[in-house]
């Protein structure tokens, strides 16, 4: 049941480029990239309970790492000249994940010494420092002039030739594939022993420590995986949009990810996807009559309303509603007892199905 629904849902996503126009496809691709970033943030925010407001740093680092690997660079550090010849974009993609994961490790090691509000502020500071470095290290990043002409992804088939992903359809499938992999990675991690340790830390840190859970180790692990996924999203973004400037480090993008996670439901697998689709599609729905500034006001109001009235997000709310409706035909509550994880998957198709119909 659960797997069929998931497969159907995925099959539907596969057919999307066949019946959607170019503009919506473009929106869907960028939304997909943001959803991957939001999923990675959810791992930290939802499962370990650490509100990282510097998440965009990993996204930006991934984007810059991938773009620079693909473009090549020539810099001087402390008198040494470092020259890097351009590599294929997929190598950049791998390096982006690696660099972002390393940064996640370093930041995790440093910042998990503090908690709560202090942790939030350390992460914000980190993001601001990376933005200022991107802005000022002109030799490497071109500063405000932006890195442009980033090559799109290229698939090389030995003996057959190369396929360069210029078009939107190819990029859509790439984002979908990476998104699916990210979903599976997070799902496997969260449902594993490690994931339960993370949730235990979120629920009650002193208690979790007392039964022998190594706090720093699990938090750093979550930060590394989360940063790596955010880096992957950043790399996808860099090669799809093909131009990046230091503005991708702006705090507002972190806020966007946080809104997506909170609205959808933090600590649920489907939450970031639902929230991401809503906030990714909202600009399309609103653009006819609202300026970008007005849209931001609507976002802010929505965010406050969600926190007030649906503090746990849409997915848990829909799941609760579903479980209230559902037992009647079955007479017993056995279904939910047998498949405790049915909820999020069902509600994912529900919640996002609704947004889907709104846009088509």
């Amino acid at each position: 049941m659960k797997h069929t629904l998931l497969a159907l849902w995925f099959a539907l996503l596969l057919t999307v480029p066949l019946w959607i126009d170019q503009y919506f496809l473009h929106v869907l691709i960028t939304t997909g990239i943001m959803i991957i970033a939001a999923m990675s943030l959810n791992l930290l925010l939802g499962y370990t309970g650490q509100l990282s407001l510097g998440h965009v740093a990993f996204f930006g680092i991934g984007a810059y790492a991938s773009a620079l690997t693909a473009l090549g660079f020539d810099v001087h550090i402390f008198g040494y000249r470092i020259v890097h010849e351009p590599w294929p974009p997929f190598a950049g993609f791998a390096i982006a994940i690696l660099v972002a994961a390393l940064c996640g490790y370093a930041i995790g090691k440093l910042s998990f010494k503090v908690r709560g509000a202090y942790f939030v502020i350390v992460t914000i500071s980190f993001a601001e420092v990376t933005r200022l470095v991107a802005l000022n290290w002109v030799e490497l990043t071109q500063g405000p002039l932006a890195l442009n002409n980033i090559p799109p992804f290229t698939l090389a088939f030995p003996g057959v030739g190369e396929y360069t992903m210029w078009g939107k359809v190819a990029n859509y499938y790439l984002v979908l594939a990476v998104g699916a992999v990210a979903y599976i990675v997070i799902r496997r991690l969260v449902l594993s022993r490690t994931g339960r340790a993370m949730i235990a830390l979120r629920e009650n840190e002193p208690l979790a420590t007392s039964i022998g859970i190594d706090v720093t180790r699990y938090l750093v692990l979550a930060a590394v995986v989360s940063a790596a996924l955010a880096g992957a999203a950043g790399a996808l973004y860099a090669h799809f949009v093909r131009i990046i400037d230091p503005d991708i480090f702006l705090f507002i993008y972190t806020v966007t990810m946080v809104i997506m996670v909170i609205t959808g439901g933090k600590g649920t697998l489907a939450g970031p996807i639902v929230g991401g689709l809503i906030f990714g599609m909202l600009p399309v729905a609103l653009r006819a009559w609202a300026t970008p500034v007005a849209q931001w006001i609507i976002y802010g109001v929505l965010m406050i309303l969600v926190v007030f009235f649906l503090p746990r997000g849409i997915v848990p709310a829909v799941r609760e509603w579903w479980e209230n409706v559902r037992p009647r035909p079955d007479e017993t509550g056995r279904t939910s007892a047998v498949h405790p994880s049915t909820g999020p998957v069902l509600s994912s198709s529900k919640g996002s199905g609704r947004t889907g119909t709104r846009n088509v």
Binding site: L51, L110, S111, K113, V114, R115, G116, A117, Y118, V120, I121, V122, I124, S125, F126, E128, V129, L132, V133, L135, N136, F251, I252, V255, V258, I262, T291, V293, A294, W296, I297, Y299, G300, V301, L302, M303, I304, V307, F308, P311
Partner: protein
């Protein structure tokens, strides 16, 4: 001069943070609001510079009270992340409203002070900067006296130390929260009005200001007015030195590097007593 306004920002934030346990993301917006009020009153309505400054303080207090009553009062007792998210939402709304009303073009305020600088031998200082410094110092002193010499201040300190005991002793903790938020907001708005007169006013001026205010609070330690004052001056000095000796592009990065360093080596801040927030 910068140190004084930074200290004002930091004091407002440290009070709100220390007493209410709210990470106030709207702080920077109140700062920008103060700047805009200054601009609006002096240029559009032709109000006197000093009156406008006072009005910015009062309007900041009013706006702060409204935010507190509407958004934070219903959420008393909610955890720190929840209120933080509400404040982020409010921040987005306020910033974009400023953008909508006044547009993205930077505004400047005309000051009535003489443009010729005051010269002390080789050093010359603009009158406006002296005025800003004096006004900031006066406000810091006033806040200090308010906290340490009045009944309201005593109630605030009691709430800061132990909210439940304070409530048992007959302190109206809810009203103290509102008063704290209003006071902090007023200080932020005044800081914005003062700096707005020196530099220019833009809708996003609050973002960096808010982050710097956080840096100051962390430097000084939670809930410590003295700490926030000294923290403000330290941050301003470090920034200027960083701009002078490293690179002016990294000026704003100095504060953040300072935060990271302080939190790594002395997470309670440089001047905190014993309290540690987990």
């Amino acid at each position: 001069m910068l140190g004084g306004t930074y200290a004002l920002l930091g004091i407002g934030l440290t009070l709100i943070f220390g007493i209410m346990r709210v990470v106030n993301f709207t702080h920077g917006e109140l700062y920008a609001f103060g700047g805009y009020m200054m601009f609006f009153l002096t240029s559009a309505l032709g109000v006197n510079f000093y009156v406008a400054l006072l009005a910015a303080l009062v309007l900041g207090i009013i706006l702060g009270t409204i935010i507190e009553l509407v958004l934070l009062k219903p959420m008393r007792g909610a955890d720190i992340d929840t209120t933080m998210l509400i404040m982020i939402g409010c921040w987005i709304v306020l910033q974009n409203m400023e953008m909508m009303v006044w547009g993205g073009v930077a505004k400047s305020v005309v000051s009535p002070l003489p443009a010729d600088p005051l010269a002390f031998g080789p050093v010359s200082v603009a009158w406006l900067r002296i005025f800003v410094f004096a006004a900031a110092a006066l406000l810091i002193l006033a806040t200090y006296l308010l906290i340490h010499r009045t009944k309201l201040g005593k109630a605030m300190r009691a709430t800061f130390q132990d909210r439940d005991t304070a409530a048992l002793m007959g302190v109206n903790v809810g009203a103290i929260n509102t008063a704290t938020f209003a006071l902090g907001s007023g200080l932020a708005a005044t800081a914005g009005a003062l700096l707005g007169a020196v530099f220019v006013i833009t809708p996003t001026m609050g973002d960096l200001a808010a982050l710097k205010a956080f840096a100051i609070v962390i430097l000084g330690g939670l809930g410590s007015i003295t700490g926030a004052t000294i923290g403000g001056f330290i941050l301003a000095t470090v920034e200027e030195l960083g701009a002078g000796y490293v690179s002016s592009g990294y000026r704003d990065a100095m504060g953040f590097l300072l935060i990271i360093a302080v939190l790594l080596f002395k997470p309670t801040g440089l001047f905190a007593r014993t309290e540690r927030i987990g």
